[in-house]
Amino acid sequence: MNKSDDNMRENMNAELVFSALETYKALAKGHRQGDKYDKNEEVKPEGFQVVPISFSSLVHTVIDPTSEYNEGILRHINTSLIYRRQYYHLVKHMSSAYSPRLAAASSDAEVTQRKGEDFSLYFDVANTLHQDMVNVTLNTDNAKLRSCSFLHLQCFWQDKAIPLKLEKEDTGIFSATCLKSSLVHNAMRDVDCEIFIH
């Protein structure tokens, strides 16, 4: 191997060490900056950004969706399609033996409709894969809404704002899946909605 090859190899390895050190330092600094996610934080109406949730937390939430902390996690799950899918998958995957409180949460299948000025909103408990989950479907004739690829729906219940991201399914049809206990469990009668277009 000639000198030039030696230098190249040396530089490449030094860069690997440099990159590893920089990454390690970034990780160490991240740690010292403290918690980014405050367990007690409330979902802000404008807060549609995805809050990082660990897999363990998702599992904890399936086991006990009614604990105060896990209810907070549930609201965050609903802000992210990725987490919602994972959570949904977990609910299917884990037998109700893991989650007696989940099984007891509710079994009353129903479809509730809310009508807005130019949209209809359906909360469908019966057609979800798990009795604790709710399909939310929004139909609209509004041209502006129909042109969106997704809609951010803000449901208000009592003083709590529950954000939902509805994905476009077909022209004028948007849908999302969310946890019943976080949205409709006691709120079916009083739910009010507002749509934000981003």
Binding site: V17, T23, K25, K36, S54, M94
Partner: protein, 509 residues
């Protein structure tokens, strides 16, 4: 979309966020952290060094055991529902399980861990590794959505299935790290530093620190002077690492893999921040002091060799942080100019360092005073930890300094050190030292440093050792060869460059 991109889409998290999540994760309905500090640190080292061959091999074996354990959804149950992730909980979990053993393979609980026998292949997953393996599982399960559904790929199958799983896990981690590690950014930084400092002598590098920062401050990650300093130290460290690895390779033909070398080097580097080793009590330094010193001590090995750079970081970092904040809050240009005009002189930084060293000295003496009735072995360990104290030993004392050192070195063979060493012998050897200690202790009233709040002797011995090392770093920075006039001239020259750069960067002209 590449698989790596898909992974990122699924995770939605970068490496730092992922590690933060795992760090904060508690057990179900508990405040107990699910992953220990040691496990988190190892995960950080493994991921940053991309040294995950061994741990994925362990995880693949553990997973194989789990699918051959009676019960459903065992990986989910073991790692996430029952959370048998600590040594003892894992041991209990497996001791209470029955295994599906076939003619070709056998699983058994042994003293060290869970043993896998597949034909001639024998592997033990140690109990002590369960927590860090579980931490990796927490990372991986977010990367590979169907990771918990590997049963059919493994059940009833042999060693090859474990190899395939381990290889898949490594591949996923590699692809993920490609997307979430700052490789492109890191490459640009490395190239810029190589071009600027590649063949430079460390004194020249140090002397040109501020002008080099100005020259390279438009490179992503270098805008803040403190980050530039940190990357410069990483760069110097990477050069040293290669020199060391090459020297080791020449001596030993069985050189370890480059991943392992990088892991070892990063691991060693991560140990050097002495400030993180300070105990919470007694509190030695204020938060402000710690914050200011932290920039030095994260890279202490190189800070010692870069005194001008350290002074520049200490003098300008705070002002730059204030300017960044001022820009974020739309503060007036007048406010920003005020900030720029009030950077602290290098001589003030040197005074700060001298003051910190003095506080540390007082704290060490107070610890010594509090140990006056201690077991002799601790007392002697404390005294000999500080070379300055050893130099105070009287030449006419009953015992010589070398005698004390010899005694310490032979301590391990002494059955009862207290019988060999007595405090009296030490007091006779160093009366001035103990007078100073008593005097210092009267001035210190902090928690853990008074008779009323006295702590275990071990804490004081450990604290003295840390503070000796901290002061050693500080003194090596202070003792650089520069007159008051040259310090003043250097500050004026650097300050002019920094003010110019700050004005262009943060003030609308």
């Amino acid at each position: 979309m590449s698989k790596a991109e898909q992974n990122t889409d699924i995770v939605g998290l970068d490496l730092i966020s992922q590690i933060e999540l795992i760090e904060q994760q508690t057990l179900f309905n508990s405040q107990t952290l699910k992953y220990s500090e040691a496990s988190i640190k190892e995960l950080k080292l493994i991921l940053s060094s991309r040294n995950y061959v061994n741990i994925t091999w362990e995880l693949a074996h553990l997973y194989w055991v789990l699918v051959h354990t009676n019960g459903n959804s065992n990986a989910l149950k073991f790692f996430f529902v029952d959370e048998a992730v600590f040594a003892q909980s894992a041991k209990s979990w497996f001791e209470g399980s029955t295994f599906i053993n076939l003619d070709t393979h056998r699983i058994s609980v042994v003293l060290q861990g869970i043993e896998v026998n597949i034909r001639d292949h024998v592997f033990i997953v140690n109990w002590s590794r369960m927590n860090v393996i579980s931490g990796l599982m927490e990372v991986l399960v977010m990367l590979i959505p169907d990771l918990l559904e590997q049963d059919k790929e493994l059940v009833g199958k042999g060693l090859n299935s474990i190899k395939i799983l381990a290889s898949d896990l490594q591949k996923s981690l590699y692809e993920w790290s490609e997307t979430c590690m700052p490789s492109v950014r890191s490459h640009k930084k490395f190239v810029a530093l190589s071009q600027t400092f590649g063949n430079g002598d460390i004194r020249q590098i140090d002397s040109a620190f501020v002008s080099s920062w100005k020259q390279l401050s438009n490179i992503e990650g270098f805008a803040k002077i403190v980050n530039f300093f940190s990357s410069l130290c990483s760069f110097l460290a990477s050069k040293d690492a290669i020199d060391r690895v090459e020297s080791l390779s020449e001596q030993n033909e069985n050189a370890v893999s480059s991943e392992q070398s990088i892991y070892d080097f990063v691991s060693e580097y991560s140990e050097q921040n002495l400030l993180l080793k300070l105990p919470p009590t007694p509190k030695v330094l204020s938060q402000n002091q710690l914050k200011k010193l932290n920039t030095i001590f994260e890279d202490a090995r190189y800070a010692r060799k870069l005194p001008w750079s350290v002074l520049a970081v200490m003098a300008f970092n705070h002002a730059q942080a204030q300017l960044v904040q001022a820009v974020r809050s739309n503060a007036s240009d007048k406010h920003k100019r005020d900030v720029i005009q009030h950077t602290e002189h290098y001589s003030e930084q040197l005074s700060f360092l001298a003051g910190t060293a003095s506080i540390n000295q007082q704290t060490m003496l107070t610890c010594l005073a509090l140990m006056k009735n201690s077991q002799s072995a601790y007392l002697i360990e404390a005294v000999t930890a500080n070379s300055q104290w050893l130099s105070l030993m009287s030449p006419n004392a009953v015992i010589s300094k070398s005698h004390i050192k010899d005694d310490i070195e032979s301590q391990s063979t002494v059955k009862n050190p207290a019988e060999t060493f007595t405090p009296d012998r030490l007091y006779q050897a160093a009366p001035e030292l103990f007078e100073r200690a008593t005097k210092a202790s009267k001035k210190v009233k902090r928690q853990g440093l008074t008779e009323a709040t006295k702590l275990d002797d071990k804490v004081y011995v450990s604290l003295i050792k840390i503070l000796v090392n901290i002061n050693d770093v500080i003194e090596s920075i202070q003792k650089f060869d520069a007159s008051k006039e040259s310090i003043d001239a250097k500050y004026r020259s650097d300050c002019s460059i920094v003010i110019n750069e700050f004005s262009q960067r943060y003030i609308d002209i």
